[in-house]
Amino acid sequence: MLDRYGIVALFAVVAALFPAIALAMAWIIRPKKPNQSKLTTYECGLEFEDFPEAAQNVWVQFRVQYYIYALIFVVFDIEVVFLYPWAVAYNALGLFALVEMAIFLAILVVALAYAWRKGLLEWI
């Protein structure tokens, strides 16, 4: 059982080493001439020089809208977990299972349509 997971372990080791080696290489070969602008925190789409308090304190309260997206994501994540065994056993199951999965997906599309209709997929 376990010998087939050697490649997964190897993948995990490489994944852990990859960023470490990349950062170490950059640290070794880069010239070190820091100044104020280079040392500020960088985040895409934000200029921290304009918002000094944002650079110092990143423990800010998030908007509730992120949470709605996360919850909708959980629903569809669970849907994928059910799709996976269905797809693997598809040849053995036949038309009946196809109809059943269509019903399953249709019920969840109702949920998505409701969220869409209520305007929750728009960023306010």
Binding site: Q65, I107, L120
Partner: protein, 170 residues
């Protein structure tokens, strides 16, 4: 070999679980929880249940943990706001924790946990494939629970939308 891997991930899971309880920063505790979930996934692989392991990583480490982190970021910006302990919290926690430990030890000492259930032995599952077995059972014997799951998810999502909508607008 199996035993070495089991002890490796079991130790990792216990240490990370201690981290979840002991770390003061809630975000760090949530990251420790991710380590617990992934260690449990490795233990499921050892138990010849690769589908459960994959579902564990996808649902728990992927989705549930994101919810936890979002709740933390929504509710408590800042590290350890230091809301004082509830009255009697420590003695009560000790009593209930001890009771749970005694109960677990009693159950695990007396219970018989069979690896095989009915016709599904580990050897047969390795032969037909565990995901195929789950898929075949899901669409025959457990068809109704499967369909009800989708209704449950629908209700959960509508509930979220109704509850959250007021706050988004305001």
């Amino acid at each position: 070999m199996d035993l070495i891997v089991f002890y490796l991930f079991a130790t990792l899971a216990v240490i990370a679980a201690l981290g979840v309880v002991a770390l003061r920063n809630p975000v760090h505790a949530a990251l420790c929880l991710a380590v617990v979930f992934i260690s449990l996934a490795a233990l499921y692989v050892l138990l010849s249940a690769p589908f459960v392991a994959a579902a564990q990583v996808m649902i728990y480490a992927g989705a549930i943990l994101i919810l936890f982190v979002f709740v933390i970021m929504l509710l408590s910006p800042g590290v350890d706001q230091g809301a004082g302990a509830l009255k009697w919290q420590r003695p009560l926690a000790a009593v209930f924790g001890l009771a749970l430990a005694v109960e677990l030890i009693l159950v695990l000492a007396s219970a018989v946990l069979p690896a095989a259930r009915g016709q599904y032995t580990p050897e047969r599952l390795a032969q037909i494939g565990d995901v195929q077995a789950i898929g075949a059972l899901l669409f025959t014997d457990f068809l109704l629970p499967f369909e009800i799951t989708s209704l449950l998810l629908l209700v959960a999502m509508v509930g979220v939308i109704v509850l959250a909508k007021k706050r988004v607008r305001s």
